[in-house]
């Protein structure tokens, strides 16, 4: 018992010492280096337009109007796209809630993009992402939405496809991850052009 008590005293001292080094010095060193070397990234990769923050390059926000490309469905927060409450749906593969929601989204996607009633829809367009804040859509999803956006903006679809290709991010280092299109960046590029 005496042994345990003296060990506890040592343990408390060790806890405090290590807390100062690992939870005080360490995060501050990382903070100083990050703010010095990568201030844009360290502060959230925020995008400003005319002095106000309109979003972050990395965080999805909702777009519902036909003239904008639409992001993936979101389960973050009760209204979706809540970047203070990241979350997926966590619905299992046999969930009725999931199949009902996907059915509705598939039909809506076909209708708004003028697709045939039996057209196949890319999975990322009708399923919720893991974080609810996935900033990207697949290339196929972008190209299927392109005619609608072109029409709403009076753009010719060739010019629009050129913009999509310019925004497309390839695989990192040529091999990692998937090719993808950042929805917010694409929509900002469109707004700038118009």
């Amino acid at each position: 018992m005496k042994n345990m008590l003296s060990e506890l005293r040592v343990a408390v001292v060790a806890t405090l010492f290590l807390a100062v080094v690992l939870c005080g010095v360490y995060p501050l060193v990382v903070w100083a280096l990050s703010q010095g070397l990568f201030p844009h990234e360290a502060n959230g990769s925020l995008i400003q337009r005319g002095g106000t923050v309109v979003g972050s390059e990395l965080i999805a926000q909702n777009f519902g109007s036909p003239k904008y490309f639409h992001p993936r469905p979101s389960a973050a927060g009760e209204a979706g796209y809540d970047a203070g409450n990241s979350s997926g749906t966590n619905l299992g593969p046999l969930s009725k809630k999931l199949t009902d929601a996907v059915k509705e989204r598939v039909e809506a996607y076909r209708a708004e993009n003028g697709l045939a009633p039996d057209a196949r829809v890319p999975a990322d367009a009708v399923t919720s992402s893991s974080s609810g804040l996935d900033p990207h859509i697949s290339l196929r999803n972008a190209f299927l939405q392109a005619p609608r956006v072109a029409q709403a903006r009076g753009l010719d679809s060739e010019a629009l496809e050129k913009i999509i290709r310019a925004i497309t991010e390839g695989r990192d280092v040529g091999v990692f991850g998937e090719p993808r299109v950042n929805v917010l960046k694409l929509n900002l590029a469109l707004d700038k052009k118009m």
């Binding site: 990234e41 777009f63 009760e78 196949r120 893991s130 990207h136």
Partner: protein
């Protein structure tokens, strides 16, 4: 897409496995230097004075080694002090600094669950990070354990290896020396470099309040109306009342994330800064950051197999263990990847492209392959970070992470925990081999006797009893099913996963389960304590018992613990023990769900 056609998937798997193989030796050699109290490292000029200062403050003599009982007492005392430290911070976060969002204190059962969770290297989270924990709670209360629980795990593995390597000895090392050296020379410097790399990819590291963005395309949605207490307002027939809400701004989370995420991955902790963990675009911004995060989970556990070979002066033994682990790892990845690529036939029937795979709960930048790789690695090891929602995986895709945890996370495993778990299975494998050929089992010149086998069996049984016992209890209770997000077999899987994850000190979840209730917080808290200490104490006792023994010279009749035969024997022991124990429970969860998905039209 069928996985055979997915060239980039195979290429990424090859690069991953190749890099892991290349990094194993240098990591192992460095661990060898750090875990030797007199060892020299290239960081000595900077860190030696800090190390000396630590010993001075503690009044500890770094040259004095402990026997296994003293070592255990030091470890337990330190774990207790750390748990109370974190519990106090979480309960008082509303009066502590660095809380720009003005978040309130953790409830008592949530603070208990969370403090235990981080102390035991589990990082199970009954809460969403960004909506519950202040910067101070994350950076001090939680990140503290990300470092020290990792160091503690590695220390226990090192002690067991010393027990095997030494003979006729009582002393097996000094806990305080192992603790401080692992933190200062290994985890701290690696985390600094790693964290800055993560920021370069887009991860945040700041102390400002959450930002508010004026979004480009404001919209209105219908949401459930809540009163001032946050309770749902009910209309006449008991249905919730909805209201229109205009959304024109977006709150964007901020905070000191990179410093915490670096050690979260390197220390196989896995506790997310945000609720979505490594699927959050800030917490895992690019496919490159994703790849490095996955690799960093396996880095130290893989290096420890080299450390084992070096310490017992039989490098081929270390590689034989590595080979057995790599085999299970590859089987798991391919199985999970195949299942997720095949996707969900229910959604295909609705018009979703079958070639895109199961994208529910996954991110576009990672795609199917990197989600399956992450899920497999995070559960091979006891990491528990996720870059996709395991709850939304296909039944067989979700079975892999669950089974990985239940096998004891011995496929490279958690930092330290993986190696000492594996060594327990090595003892069992050697024992079984001895029984089969009818001679005294022997491991590297040490006779394996009744005490050693009893301690190993205790280690294995504790996990089985905790996982199956708690799941059974939850399943028949009133509070268990009440917290489920999915019905049917998937609901059982949610509970089974929760207690597997808790006991296995993993921390990942079928996250639909609303675990932040009195009963779940308490029972999962107990499962985590069992999974940590009913494993560590037998492992340390085994170390003490092995160190004490004399070593017999190797003869022609000695059982070889290197080469493919030994790898297969070890593999067989792990799979048979795991399969026999958990197959009945798995068949009621994911397996029956798979057949319902393919052979019926049942929905829940």
């Amino acid at each position: 897409m069928r996985i055979f056609d997915d060239t980039f998937g195979w290429a990424q798997l090859a690069v991953f496995t190749g890099l892991l193989l290349l990094l194993t030796r240098p990591t192992g050699v460095y661990l060898f230097q750090v875990l030797d109290a007199q060892g020299k490292t290239f960081l000595d000029p900077v860190l030696r004075p800090v190390e000396r200062c630590f010993y001075f403050l503690l009044g500890a003599d770094p040259k004095k080694e402990q026997d296994w009982k003293q070592y255990t007492i030091s470890l337990l005392a330190f774990s207790l002090a750390g748990t109370l430290f974190t519990y106090a911070i979480l309960r008082m976060q509303h009066v502590l600094p660095l809380n720009p969002q003005g978040l309130g204190p953790f409830s008592d059962h949530l603070a208990f669950n969370t403090a235990v969770s981080f102390m035991t290297n589990t990082n199970w989270q009954s809460y969403g990070g960004e909506s519950t924990a202040s910067y101070f709670s994350q950076m001090v209360g939680l990140a503290f354990h990300n470092f020290v629980s990792a160091a503690t795990g590695i220390a226990v593995a090192a002690v067991l290896v010393r027990g095997i390597a030494r003979h006729s000895a009582k002393a097996i090392g000094n806990f305080w020396v192992d603790l401080v050296r692992l933190n200062l020379y290994l985890l701290l410097p690696a985390s600094i470099v790693y964290a800055v790399f993560l920021v370069s990819q887009g991860m945040i590291q700041n102390f400002k309040p959450y930002d508010t963005a004026q979004i480009l395309d404001p919209y209105t949605v219908e949401v459930v109306k809540k009163d001032d207490n946050g309770d749902v307002v009910k209309g006449a027939p008991g249905n919730p009342v909805t209201e229109e809400r205009k959304i024109d701004t977006q709150t964007i989370v901020q905070g000191p994330m990179a410093s915490q995420v670096a050690i979260k991955m390197l220390g196989t902790n896995g506790g997310g800064f945000t609720n979505a963990n490594a699927s959050h675009p800030y917490e895992n911004p690019t496919p490159l950051s994703n790849f490095i995060q996955i690799l960093s989970i396996f880095l130290i556990p893989s290096g420890l197999t080299y450390y084992l070979g070096r310490m017992v002066k039989n490098q081929r033994h270390g590689w034989a263990v590595w080979g057995a682990m790599a085999a299970v790892f590859l089987m798991g990845v391919v199985a999970c990847w195949w299942a997720e690529s095949a996707g969900n036939p229910r959604l295909h029937a609705l018009g979703v492209e079958a070639g895109s795979g199961n994208m529910e709960g996954k991110e576009v930048r990672f795609g199917i392959f990197n989600s399956a790789l992450f899920a497999t690695v995070t559960t091979d090891a006891s990491c528990g970070a996720v870059n996709s929602m395991h709850d939304s995986f296909t039944p067989l895709g979700g079975l892999i992470p669950l089974l990985n945890i239940q096998l004891g996370e011995v496929v490279f495993g958690g930092v330290g925990a993986g190696l000492y778990g594996t060594l327990v299975f090595v003892v069992l494998a050697v024992f079984l081999a001895g029984l089969m050929v009818g001679r005294t089992p022997e491991y590297l010149g040490k006779k394996i006797e009744a005490t050693d086998v009893k301690l190993s069996v205790l280690f294995v049984m504790a996990a089985a009893f905790s996982i199956l016992g708690f799941t059974a209890w939850a399943a028949v209770s009133a509070w268990g099913p009440a917290a489920l997000n999915n019905a049917g077999p998937h609901g059982l899987s949610e509970m089974l996963y929760a207690y597997s994850s808790g006991t296995g000190n993993n921390g990942s979840a079928f996250a639909g389960l609303t675990a932040n209730t009195y009963w779940y917080n308490t029972t999962i808290g107990l499962a985590m304590l069992i999974g940590r200490f009913i494993m560590i104490i037998p492992a340390l006792a085994l170390a003490g018992n092995l160190a004490r023994k004399k070593r017999a010279a190797a003869t022609g009749g000695s059982f070889p613990v290197s080469g493919p035969l030994f790898s297969v024997l070890l593999l067989g022991t792990i799979l048979i023990v795991g399969a026999l124990t958990f197959f009945p429970a798995l068949s009621l969860g994911p397996i029956v769900e798979h057949f319902q998905m393919t052979g019926s039209s049942i929905t829940y």
